[in-house]
Every structure is written in structure tokens, then in C-alpha cells.
């Protein structure tokens, strides 16, 4: 008998065929009312994951990570760091060269079909068919994912409303904006009620409004449906706002992991940034500020990482007392960029630019 109900906020989708891990399967229905095996199996476990390409360095170089059920895990790193390769391995599109990964309790190498049955994926390129409408896409995806025939239309309708595409549902995707394509991509990933969602740079190239809307939707999915989310991003703000925990990846290695607050706390102290009134005062101000902490490499201003126990008021008093001529004085709490800088010696923006320059050089060489 078809059913469509809500158990502890989780939407249950009835599916055709053998879908062992999905919300609509017998196993999940059995345990949906209590904390049981499904809850435990909603996570991601990765040990020593390596992925090498034939020509080139290790894209992923020995990653260990663990994502708890119902958690939003932000995988932060510059272009070319290995984020998308990791997603491709975890979603069964690429076999790992070494190491193991279990998604929802299933091994990504040995149990690929089972993994695929319980995950939803929105890859970096929102690969949509420009000739199909949004509704066509959802119906196709619903059929391919085994959603029961009598539920396909209603499920498509529900998701179109959810992602705000109901009015554009019957328009060809070629006429969609970037934000609309991303939202449709998200809806497609959700069509079969996945327990684990992989989003590979879901907001890259989006305007701030679309980005915020997508963040809200992802947060809602976790909050109301208990979906586990593995999200890759190169945006610090995105990881900071959305993720419960963040893993920072650089050159294929996981260089830091923890909650955004814990990672920032690890870096510890805030920094003070001063803009000299006159450019020739810069060395003198740098020398003056150095007594309050260790100097930071910046181009626009003069900055120091404050020693423990010092605050902005201490600096302001000292600036006043010594007649130091500054245009602006600012206290900055540590950001994830500071964490990235501390762990890799580069800023995230700088690392991205480096990666892009390297890619262009390779293209020219080729």
C-alpha cells in the first residue's frame, strides 16, 4: 500500500524495488519511531582515504573523517584541494585508490548500489537538461530512483513548492537562472527522501540572496528531516554559518577539523588592525604595535595577533598616550580564514588564486 507520512519530522517516500537504506524501506520504517540502527547508520566514516589519478599528484591523500547522523559537515578548501574528488568517492562515482569509506553503514566500494539508494547528491555542476522542464526533471529522477508511480507527481509538486520553483515548473531549464538551477538540483537530490545529502559547492556562482535561500533550505532539511549533510565549499562564511563541524582540506590532506568555534578558539586570540594616517608612519606603527603581540603579514594595514589578556581598550589607551596617528583601529575575532592561514601558511583566497593560476598554466602547457 502506498504511504506518505511524517515520522519524527522525516518525510517517508514509498519506493519501488529494492532500496534497503531509504526512508521508505521496511528497515527504516521499523526503527523510525525510536533511535535505532538507521539513526546510527546515517553517518559517514572515512579512514585513510586516498585517491590518485594516473597522471598527477594524489587528489586525496589519506583522509580520516567522521560525520555524525543529522550533522552538517562543511568540507572547506580552495579549488583543487580534493573536495570534489572526496565527494565523488563517497558517492560511489570514483573508487578510492586506498582506504575505506562507509556511508550510511555501507562500504562505498563493495556496496555501491546500497549507498546510492540512501544518498542524495548535488554535484558541483548542476547537470541539467536544458530541453526539459523542472517538472520533467523531477518526474524522470523520481522514476529512476524508484519512487512509486502514484507518488511521483505529488512528490515532484511538493518539492517544486519547497524550493520555490512551482511557478517555473513547466518552463524549460534553459531559461532558468543559476539560482533556480541550483534549487532544482537540490530538489532532484531530495526526490527519494535521502537520509544523507552530498552538496558539492552548492552556492558557487550564486548571488547573495540565492545563497542565503539555499542555506536556509539546507538548515531546514537537517532541522526538520534529520538529514545528514556533507557540504563542500570554498566560502568561509558558508562553512561558518551552516556547518556544525568543519573539515579543512588543502592539497588532499585534512589539515584541521572541529566546530567553527573550536577551530577559531584553537587559533585563539583576536588580532588588531591599524591603518596609518600617513604611509611613512607604517614602520613606526608596526614597531609600536609589536609590543602587544606577534605581527601578522597583511598588505592593507598593520596588524598583530594580540597576546593573551589584552583587549582593544589597551591598544586605544596606548595609541592615545603615545600620539600614534592612525585612521582606523579594528579588533578582529579569528575567522576560519585565520585557521586556514595558521594551518597552511596561506589564506584561502590566496590558495584559490594559486590553484587557478596553476590550472591555467597547465592548460597553456597542454
Amino acid at each position: 500500500m502506498p504511504f506518505s507520512t511524517s515520522i519524527r519530522g522525516a518525510r517517508v517516500i514509498a519506493l519501488d524495488g529494492n532500496h534497503p537504506g531509504q526512508c521508505g524501506s521496511a528497515s527504516s520504517r521499523e526503527v523510525a519511531g525510536s533511535v535505532g540502527p538507521v539513526e546510527r547508520e546515517n553517518g559517514i566514516e572515512v579512514e585513510g582515504l586516498v585517491r590518485e589519478y594516473r597522471k598527477g599528484p594524489r587528489a586525496v591523500d589519506g583522509i580520516d573523517l567522521s560525520v555524525a547522523p543529522g550533522e552538517i559537515y562543511g568540507f572547506l578548501g580552495p579549488n583543487g584541494a580534493g573536495k570534489s574528488t572526496t565527494v565523488h568517492v563517497l558517492t560511489t562515482l570514483l573508487p578510492p585508490t586506498a582506504g575505506t569509506a562507509r556511508v550510511g553503514g555501507y562500504d562505498v566500494v563493495k556496496e555501491g548500489p546500497k549507498v546510492r539508494s540512501l544518498i542524495g547528491v548535488a554535484l558541483q555542476e548542476a547537470a541539467l537538461d536544458p530541453l526539459l522542464t523542472g517538472r520533467d526533471h523531477l518526474r524522470l529522477q523520481a522514476t529512476l530512483q524508484g519512487v512509486r508511480k502514484d507518488q511521483r507527481a505529488s512528490r515532484a509538486e511538493e518539492l517544486l513548492h519547497r524550493v520555490g520553483l512551482a511557478d517555473a515548473a513547466d518552463r524549460k531549464v534553459s531559461g532558468y537562472s543559476g539560482g533556480m538551477k541550483r534549487r532544482l538540483d537540490l530538489a532532484l537530490a531530495l526526490i527519494h527522501g535521502p537520509r544523507i545529502l552530498f552538496l558539492d559547492e552548492p552556492t558557487t556562482g550564486l548571488d547573495p540572496q540565492s545563497r542565503t535561500a539555499l542555506w536556509e533550505e539546507v538548515a531546514l532539511l537537517r532541522r526538520e528531516d534529520g538529514v545528514t549533510v556533507f557540504l563542500t565549499t570554498q566560502y568561509l562564511e558558508e562553512a561558518d554559518v551552516l556547518a556544525d563541524r568543519v573539515g579543512i582540506i588543502d592539497q588532499g590532506k585534512l589539515v584541521a577539523e572541529g566546530t567553527p568555534a573550536a577551530l577559531k578558539a584553537e587559533i585563539g586570540r583576536p588580532s588588531v588592525h591599524a591603518i596609518p594616517h600617513r604611509e611613512e608612519d607604517r614602520p613606526r606603527i608596526a614597531e609600536f604595535l609589536a609590543q602587544f603581540g606577534e605581527p601578522l603579514a597583511t598588505t592593507r594595514d598593520v596588524a598583530v595577533r594580540l597576546r593573551a589578556g589584552l583587549g582593544l581598550t589597551d591598544i586605544v589607551r596606548a595609541v592615545d598616550a603615545n600620539g600614534v596617528d592612525v585612521v582606523d583601529l579594528e579588533l578582529k575575532a579569528p575567522s576560519l580564514d585565520d585557521v586556514f592561514l595558521a594551518k597552511t601558511g596561506r589564506t584561502l583566497e590566496g590558495a584559490t588564486e594559486e590553484a587557478e593560476a596553476e590550472q591555467q598554466q597547465k592548460k597553456r602547457g597542454a
Partner: protein, 258 residues
Amino acid sequence: MSSSWPQVGAIARRSLVRTARQPASVIPPIVFPLALMTVNAAGLQSSTDLPGFPTESFLAFALAVPFIQGALFSTMNAGTDLARDVQTGFINRLALTALRDWALLSGQLAGVVALGIVQALIYLAVGLAAGVEFESGPAGVLVLLVYAAIVSLAFGALGAYLALRTGSGETIQAMFPVLFVFLFISSMNAPRDLIGVDWFRTAATLNPVSYMIECVRSLIVEGWDAQALVLGFVFVVVLGIVSIALASRALRTRMTRT
């Protein structure tokens, strides 16, 4: 396997919807072969005076060509569409679903075959409206439609193989003239035994497309010619089997998933 049939249907439907929404993919495979047939029928009617020419109507003789030429056209279009799926990453989207490899290929080919049959019905209607009589009767029309379906399947699989192997729509388009060379160096405009130029006759004899055209032509102008039918079916079935095997292999490589 039974739960995969809706998937085959969904992929086939997508293939048809895509084609229907691209007038540039629908119109040329129907109009160009008919236009070429009309021009040839008008210009080459006097060849029917040659001793041994099998019919008095060149239109009846030439009607076989659109069936093969149209299949070539739609093959290229279907191949280009599939190559675009590879280029855009849509095939990864499909790989992430419960879709089975064979279901993707079957659905894709079902769409091509459905279009092939629609095209064949149009050529048939045009031929009948122009006064062509089918020597093999209504049963021959049925055999012709079956043959058109198999030709579409075989060429469709060839297009799918090229698309999956190269992943490039441009490469598929570049193959188009090559396939047309096969069409033109065949018995499309004259029976092989009436071709006067030796090298051309030899090339047409070695060219499998000649036997496909002659199979269709025999149903229209001669009635039931067992040899023409057997040769036509054998060549197209062999092409189909080889192409499907190659396409399946290429699909497994292209749709890598654990």
C-alpha cells in the same frame, strides 16, 4: 529486472521529448531525404529506360533511400544528445540513481527506434501519396516497418557507441560526412549490375549500406526477394549486435560507479 522497465520508459520518453523540442533534430531527417529523393526522381527518371532496370518509376526505386538516410540522420542526432549528456555531467546524475546500465542504453535506443518508425511512416505516406505501389503488398509494408526499426536500432547503437567512447558532440558531428560517404558510394541511385564504373561497382558491392537499401527496395519494386531480404537483415542485425556490444562496453567505462 522487471523494476527496470519504468526506467527504460522514462529514458525513452526523455529521448523523444528532447527530440520533439529540437525542431532542428526533427525536420532535417524527414525533409532532406525526401528532398533528395524528389530531386533524384525528377533528374534520373530516364535511367529507368536502361535495359534491366527493375522498375519504370524512379520514385519507387529511390523511395528506399530515405529510410536509410533518415536513420543516419537520427543516429547522429541521438549520438550528439548522448555525447552532450557526457559533456555536461548529466550521465553522472543518471549514474547516481538506481538506473541500470542496460536500462539506460535500452531507453536511449527505444527513443531512437520510436523516432525511426515515425520517420518511416512519413516516408511511406509520402511514397504512397506520390503513387508508389508496394509490390510486396501490406505484409511488405509491415516488414519494411520492422526493418526500419532494426536499422534505427543498429545505427542508434552505433551513434551511442561513438558518443560514449568519445564523449564529444563535435566528434559525432564530424562522423556525419563519413557515414554519408557510405550512403553515396552504394546502390542508392542505380542497381549494382548497372553501374558502369568498375571501382564504383566494387565499392558499392563491398558497402553494407547497398544491401540495406536493396532490402527495402526489393519490398517496394520487386515483391518478395529472399536473397535481398536475407542479406539486408543479416547486415543490419550484425551491425546492431556489434554496435550494441560496443556501446554497452563504452557505457560501463563511461558510467563508472562502484
